[in-house]
Each structure stands twice: as structure tokens, then as C-alpha cells.
């Protein structure tokens, strides 16, 4: 399902003395089946943009096309439930949304709201729990007896069980242990590659953006600063640092390597594996 944002503007608490602009003139395209990363300094409006993707917030100006629905400022939209089923959002710190007596019931909450029968929902819960790498016996536990990382996984499973077409992730791995982070990130890419799921990821990790994304959107002070492929974006490191972002470690390594070498490599490498292969190619030339 394609999502297109056109000149979207949003202000919090509009019409009160607490009014504050959050995003202005945001336009970009999330093509079906792609992995789009949104990066930007804290407070740049990333989470605000995400909440527009399933109409939790409505634009005050501009419009959003979500599949066959168009959400425009000042217009009533009826099929919100349909949109919310198809666009699943995992919020920042999603563990705060858990409320049921058992993990299983909590994961079933989403699917059952969207009309999935109880038995079906339970099967989905089992499947989702496996996907996020938890043992099956957590299903019968209370979500409040779990560790922070386990709660996070349960919350993610709760959204996966809705079987959305578009999965929107707001810093899903912040605060997880490094190997757990990698497992979860790989699981998302797996779903994207095999099931054709569209992924939208907000992250502060340039490494993750470089490794997983097909397309990167940089937000800066509530507007879109740049859009491009990871190679385009990370080639131009000055533009990156000018909006307060880091350069991925691999790219930094490559740059100092190129300085020593005296000439640039063939391409900007996005992962350590890619860089190793590229450097490997040089061995023949040098000796």
C-alpha cells in the first residue's frame, strides 16, 4: 500500500495559547513494499509525521494519500478503522500500552478489535510471540511480570498480530540489548522481504538506517531536509552533520581509509561486510 504525504502541516494544541508548530510542508512518498527510514535530530517532528500515517493526527494543511483513501485537512474520513488495520504503528516505548491479564490476551486485543475471531487471534498471538523471539510460555504470563525488553517484544508482537500491510516503527529497539536489537531488526527486514510488508522506521541509529533502508528521509526542524537512497545520503556527510546527525561508523572508517589510500573507493559502503568486500578487492591491485 502506497502512502503519499503532500505539504502536510501540523501544530499541537492549535487554537490555544499552548499552540506550537510541529511539522510544516512535509511531502514524501512511501512506496509499497519498501523500507523507508526517517532520521532527524530529537524534536525534528519524526513521531508527529508517523502519527499521520494512520490518522491519529489529521493534517491542518495538505493531504495524505493512504492506499485508496485521501485524508485532507478539514474533511471527515469514515474508514479510519480500515486504515488503522492496514497501517500498524509501534510507538516509542510501546510497553506502556500493555494492560491485559495475560500476554496472550494483550496481543489478541488488536486483531480482535479489527474483527478477527478469538481462535484465529490466539493463533496469531502464538505466531507473533515466536517472531519476536519470546518463548511460548510467556503467553500465559502477566505482561507486568516481564522484564522491560520482554515487554517491548510483547508490545511489538501485539502490532504484528494485526497483520498490517504497512508497519510503522518509532525507535523500536531503543534500550534493548545489542544482540536483541539485531534480532528484532532482522525480523522486520525478513517480513519486508518475504511478505512484501512496507516498513517505516524512525531511528537514531545511522547504522540501522544505512543497513536496512531503501530510502531515507531526513527531518530537520519540522521540515524535510533531504530524501534519497542511503548511498546518496551518506555520501554527503557535511549535509548530515549540518543537521546534527552522525555519520555511520562504516562510512567514517571508509573516509579515513580513503584518505590514507589517496583515492576514493568505488562506492559508499553501508555495512561492515560491504566495506570488507570492497577493501578485499584492492588486495589484488596493491600486491
Amino acid at each position: 500500500m502506497d502512502i503519499k504525504l503532500r505539504e502536510v502541516e501540523y501544530r499541537y494544541a492549535a487554537g490555544t495559547p499552548f499552540e506550537r508548530p510541529a511539522i510544516t510542508d512535509v511531502s514524501f512518498h512511501i512506496p509499497s513494499g519498501q523500507y523507508v527510514a526517517i532520521i532527524g535530530h530529537t524534536g525534528s517532528g519524526k513521531s508527529t509525521v508517523l502519527q499521520h500515517l494512520n490518522v491519529l493526527l489529521k493534517p491542518l494543511k495538505g493531504e495524505i494519500e493512504i492506499g485508496s483513501h485521501t485524508i485532507a485537512a478539514g474533511r471527515k474520513e469514515k474508514n479510519l478503522k480500515e486504515i488503522r488495520r492496514r497501517v500498524g504503528i509501534v510507538f516509542q516505548f510501546p510497553e506502556h500500552q500493555l494492560f491485559e491479564e495475560t500476554v496472550e490476551k494483550d496481543i489478541c486485543f488488536g486483531p480482535m478489535n479489527f474483527g478477527v475471531a478469538e481462535n484465529d487471534a490466539k493463533n496469531r498471538a502464538l505466531e507473533a510471540v515466536r517472531l519476536v523471539g519470546l518463548p511460548e510460555d510467556v503467553l500465559k504470563k502477566s505482561p507486568f511480570d516481564l522484564s522491560g525488553g520482554q515487554m517491548r517484544r510483547v508490545a511489538i508482537a501485539g502490532v504484528l498480530a494485526m497483520k498490517p500491510d504497512v508497519l510503522v516503527l518509532d525507535e523500536p529497539t531503543a534500550g534493548l540489548d545489542p544482540s536483541g536489537r539485531q534480532d528484532i531488526m532482522n525480523m522486520f527486514t525478513g517480513l519486508q522481504k518475504t511478505n512484501g510488508l512496507t516498513c517505516v522506521l524512525v531511528t537514531h541509529s545511522m547504522e540501522d538506517a544505512a543497513r536496512y533502508a531503501d530510502k531515507i528521509v531526513i527531518m530537520y526542524k519540522g521540515s524535510v531536509h533531504r530524501i534519497g537512497t542511503p548511498r546518496d545520503i551518506f555520501r554527503d556527510t557535511d549535509s548530515l552533520t549540518s543537521v546534527g546527525l552522525n555519520v555511520p561508523e562504516t562510512v567514517r572508517f571508509q573516509q579515513s581509509f580513503e584518505k590514507r589510500l589517496g583515492r576514493p573507493l568505488d562506492k559508499v559502503c553501508l555495512t561492515p561486510e560491504e566495506l570488507a568486500a570492497e577493501i578485499g578487492k584492492l588486495r589484488g591491485e596493491i600486491s
Binding site: T16, N54, F91, P94, Q97, F109, N113, V159
Partner: protein
């Protein structure tokens, strides 16, 4: 939605009302609560109403915003109004349909009581809108200070109050966040039958309680870790200063009460 609620919020500004000593504002409110009950006829209500709007004007808080924020309590006001309209049997009969008889006295009483209610809410909302929660508590602690002599834990009570005031906006933000998260999972808070709506609140209330308790615990630990020990010997960063402005406000209040006393017997 949550952002429309004004009770307990502070709206920074540099108006005269903002600059008043919190003790003066508190005394003012205590007195005002009493004075409102002096009003009993058109004249007195007009006077006290005009006076309230003068304060709103001085506080530089936009009237439209204040009235918007009053909407949640409007239901309660309307309820009181109709209660009086239907159950007061005084004065001439206005209309009569079925068992219901509406008397002129009832309507007048309804209007007066609702007005009284609204004025009280307006003025108390103004207190929190123009005074940072910390100052409110400082004021209360200072006013009730003498009670420490008879072993009333004034400081602790004041602290409790300031913590609750401080966390009202936080809780509202939190409610908004959890509501959004559950909506994203298909929860519907705004349609369906009453019993469905009540059920829909559970996924909101439980996470809210959990996080409130967690927050309270963390706050307690953080205070302890920093060696907090209230009351005796604790110095203050903000020192309250009573100024001419505050005395003037008190004088004004006395004049107002006197005027109301005279006018109420007309």
C-alpha cells in the same frame, strides 16, 4: 483533545495578576468563595461578574481560551441549572406541561446558582493559570505556617499538593499517548453503546495507573537519593514578597464586599 483542558495548567505571562504574591492570590480566592455567596440579586451579580472579568482582563489570559476550557464543567453547570428550574416552587408559574411546572423563581434561582458556579470555577482556574504550582504551594505553606505549632505537617501537606499539581499535565499527556497507542490497535473511545465505551476505557486506565504508580515510586527514590528532608531548616530558593500591589488587591476586596453588602438589600 487533552490539550483543551485548562484546569491545573500554568500559562506564563508578565501580567499584574501573574506578578502578585501567591499568598495574596490565595487569600483572595478564599475570600472570593465567601463573597460570591453575598450576591443575591441582579445588581450584585452584575457587580461581581464585572469584577471577575476585570481580573480576567488584567491577567491577559484570552477569554476565548478560558471559556473553551470551561466546556468540560459546563455539563455540571447545566445539570444544576435544570435541577433548580424543575424543583424550585417559588414565584409565578411560567409554563406547565404535564406534571412539570416551571416557576419564575426556579428559573431565576437556576441562573443565579449557575452563574455563581461559573464565577467560582473561572476564578480558581485563573489561580493555576497565573501561578506556577510551586508558588501556589509556597503560598499555602506560608499561610498555614502557624499551624506547625500545633504539630500539623504543613510542609508535607504542601509538598503533596505541589506534586499532584505538578503531575496533572504529565498525566494528561500520558493519557493522550496511551489513547493513541490503543487507537492504533483498533480501540474506539468515541462511539458505540455506553457499556462498550466503559469497556473501552479499561485499556486506557490500567496503563495509566501502572505508570502513575511507577512514577510515584521513582520520584520518591530520586528525592531520597538527593537527600530530601523537608520542613525544618530547609532554605528557600524563591522568597515570597508582599508588595503594594497585593495590599491594593486586599483593599479592593474589602471595598467589593462592602458594596455587595449594601447592594444585596436593595
Amino acid at each position: 483533545m487533552m490539550e483543551k483542558i485548562i484546569f491545573g495548567r500554568y500559562l506564563p505571562s508578565d501580567s499584574v495578576v501573574h506578578q502578585m504574591d501567591p499568598r495574596a492570590k490565595l487569600l483572595f480566592i478564599f475570600a472570593f468563595v465567601g463573597i460570591v455567596f453575598l450576591a443575591n440579586n441582579v445588581m450584585t451579580y452584575a457587580l461581581i461578574g464585572a469584577f471577575t472579568f476585570l481580573i480576567v482582563f488584567l491577567s491577559k489570559v484570552k477569554l476565548r481560551f478560558l471559556i473553551g476550557g470551561l466546556k468540560p464543567v459546563l455539563l455540571l453547570v447545566l445539570f444544576t441549572f435544570f435541577l433548580h428550574v424543575f424543583f424550585t416552587k417559588e414565584g409565578d408559574i411560567l409554563t406547565q406541561f404535564g406534571l412539570l411546572t416551571i416557576y419564575k423563581g426556579g428559573v431565576i434561582k437556576g441562573i443565579f446558582i449557575s452563574l455563581r458556579f461559573l464565577l467560582l470555577i473561572l476564578v480558581t482556574s485563573l489561580l493555576t493559570l497565573t501561578t506556577p504550582p510551586i508558588s501556589v504551594t509556597d503560598g499555602i505553606e506560608s499561610l498555614f505556617g502557624p499551624l506547625k505549632k500545633i504539630k500539623v505537617p504543613v510542609h508535607e501537606l504542601a509538598l503533596m499538593m505541589s506534586i499532584s499539581l505538578r503531575f496533572i499535565p504529565t498525566l494528561l499527556d500520558e493519557t493522550d499517548k496511551i489513547m493513541k497507542a490503543q487507537r492504533a490497535r483498533g480501540a474506539d473511545f468515541s462511539s458505540g453503546s455506553i457499556s462498550n465505551r466503559v469497556k473501552a476505557i479499561i485499556p486506557l486506565l490500567i496503563p495509566l495507573f501502572v505508570s502513575a504508580f511507577k512514577r510515584a515510586e521513582e520520584l520518591a527514590v530520586a528525592m531520597e537519593a538527593r537527600g530530601y528532608k523537608g520542613g525544618e531548616g530547609r532554605t528557600k530558593y524563591r522568597i515570597l514578597r508582599w508588595s503594594m500591589r497585593d495590599t491594593m488587591a486586599m483593599v479592593f476586596l474589602v471595598v467589593l464586599s462592602a458594596a455587595l453588602f449594601i447592594l444585596r438589600s436593595y
